[in-house]
């Protein structure tokens, strides 16, 4: 498996189209999940994922060094950074999309009986955008407050505050989510 992956990476570094296709197929679900978690608007998902892979293919020949780390965390960093950049680029679309998302997706999630992972993803997506970014970075992806502050261009204190608010918000959502679940099941 590792050998296959190395072959793929080397192929991508040579800009071999078949290798690029394979690598894309291998990591598409992973990248999609990360982008979905970070993006303020799901309608940006397709564009964001495309951008991530374009960056990956463009940077692989020059920027990726196998000795310094595995490909997966490297792709993850690009996906996170791209998503945050997308959010910054499309500021203003947030609130409406957020509200719509909240209304529709809880019900959809429950009706479709999605996996619990999906439910968690949905839960996280209901946190307001600015808090969600910090929550994702800190709680899921292991960034420190200092790193978050630098990445988002905010102060460390703001990062802490946003995390607190995200947590408070999450607790509320968990309760609501359970209520919805319960109500529907009944």
């Amino acid at each position: 498996m590792k050998n296959n992956l190395n072959t793929l990476i080397k192929g991508c570094q040579r800009q071999d189209r078949n290798s690029q296709t394979e690598l894309f197929k291998l990591y598409l679900p992973y990248v999609t999940s990360i982008c979905k978690r970070y993006l303020r608007d799901e309608s940006l998902l397709q564009d964001a994922v495309q951008e991530v892979f374009l960056l990956v293919f463009k940077s692989l020949p020059t920027s990726f060094n196998e000795e310094k780390g595995a490909i997966k965390p490297w792709i993850r960093k690009i996906a996170i950074n791209s998503s945050i950049k997308f959010n910054q680029r499309y500021q203003g679309f947030e609130e409406l999309a957020q509200q719509e998302y909240e209304k529709k997706n809880f019900v959809t999630a429950e009706i479709n009986k999605k996996t619990s992972d999906q439910e968690i993803l949905l839960l996280i997506r209901t946190i307001p955008q600015s808090y969600r970014e910090v929550f994702n970075l800190y709680a899921i992806d292991g960034y420190s407050h200092q790193e978050i502050a630098q990445l988002l261009g905010i102060s460390i204190e703001s990062s802490r505050k946003r995390l607190q608010r995200a947590r408070a918000n999450l607790k509320e959502r968990i309760k609501e989510f359970k209520n919805i679940n319960f109500t529907k099941s009944a």
Partner: protein, 464 residues
Amino acid sequence: MNIENIEKQFRERLEDHETFDLNADLTWKAIEVELDKKKKRRGIYFLLMSIGSLIGLSFISDTRISTKHNFTEQKSIIDITEELQLHSSDESIYHIEESSIASSQNIEQGITSTYFKFGATQESHHCSNDQNHTKPGTLAPTNKGLSLSTSTELPLLYKESELDHKKKNNSDRKNLAPTFPIPDVEKSIYDPISINVPLLKSIPFDYLVIPEPREEFEVSFNPIVTNTKPQYQLELTAKLFQITNGIHGQGSEYANLRNQSETPQPSWSVTANLWQTKPSGWLTGFGLEYQKTWVRFRYKKEETEYFTLEDIPIHFIIDAHTRDTILRQIGDVDLEEYHKRDVQHYNEFQTINLPVHFGFIKPTQRKLTYGFIGGLSFQYQMKQSGRLLAEDNTVIDFSNDSFFKRTGFSAHVQPMIIFKGENQWQLSCSPSVAFSLTNRLKSGVGITQRPFTYGISLGIARVL
């Protein structure tokens, strides 16, 4: 359950979470289109370079000719490499260039490429002068000839993404999250070094022109610094060139009649152009060029005594000022004092060009690229002239030392169509039309010049 536990669960579940919300085939197709576009963009860099060098050449040639023709009117040449050029005017330019052989590997990966070019040139110029000349009306010196040239480009690509750069600075951070903005800025430096050595230039067959090859050795370093988002290209050119002789047409004749020849002079120029390319294909840019040239005319001691103004056909004489200057210089200086030494007439030029570029380049899916490039340029030139030097460059006489300033304006537009062939074997055909207009608004020697050059360029190039 407390929040820390919740977060821990979240992390465990989402760390490697995968979701299948997107249609893989559709997404991949979209990515593939973008990847193909990037390949085309590589072609645009080449195009930019050739456009840049074309513009550079047109301005530089312009100035060069003006330096060589400091006794004549100023002319403008559009010297298009890699193309076959047909200039229609009173004296047509047939510039036939080229079978170009190039071995090119993946430039984007920084592998050196080498190009060899062979071409033939046939050119002449058309320009008009105003009433300040001794002979009013149009002087259209002719220079028709064949030219073979070879040049070598050694493009070395340095490419480093922002991500890589930051990674280097954070090499101890392993898999920790990056603390830098999204790596959407990619910087690259594309730096071809081109050496242009004309093997044979100008075999004139006009009866007015004596066979005097214009020999120039030219080395240019042409890095292009690229920032892909937004797409800005900073093109820097440093050029060393040598003017050996090569006053076209009447210049050569003139020099011959005066038993005068130019002394080989190294000159240099530096140019910076900032380009912005848009996905739609539009190009805009502006630049700054500084050029320094030296031209020295050598008078042979033994031969100058044979020189008289009457020997020179009337249409080779520019104005009374020049005639007087020549007479004074030759007449006043006792050349016997500098026994068996040549005397040089020294000219130094400093030229500043401020060009503004615009254009449109559109690659189509049928391997056809079309577009146009145009530009306006303001020129300011300072010329120090009149000094006589001995062979060892010591000043013999600077009583006629004078400092002239000239301002100028030029405009050009050049439509182009380029066809590209298959794979590594690229067959390119690039017909183009070039138009340029330069108007010296003010001249220290009292000459207002309005050179006008136009033509159609057709070219075939084969790249291996």
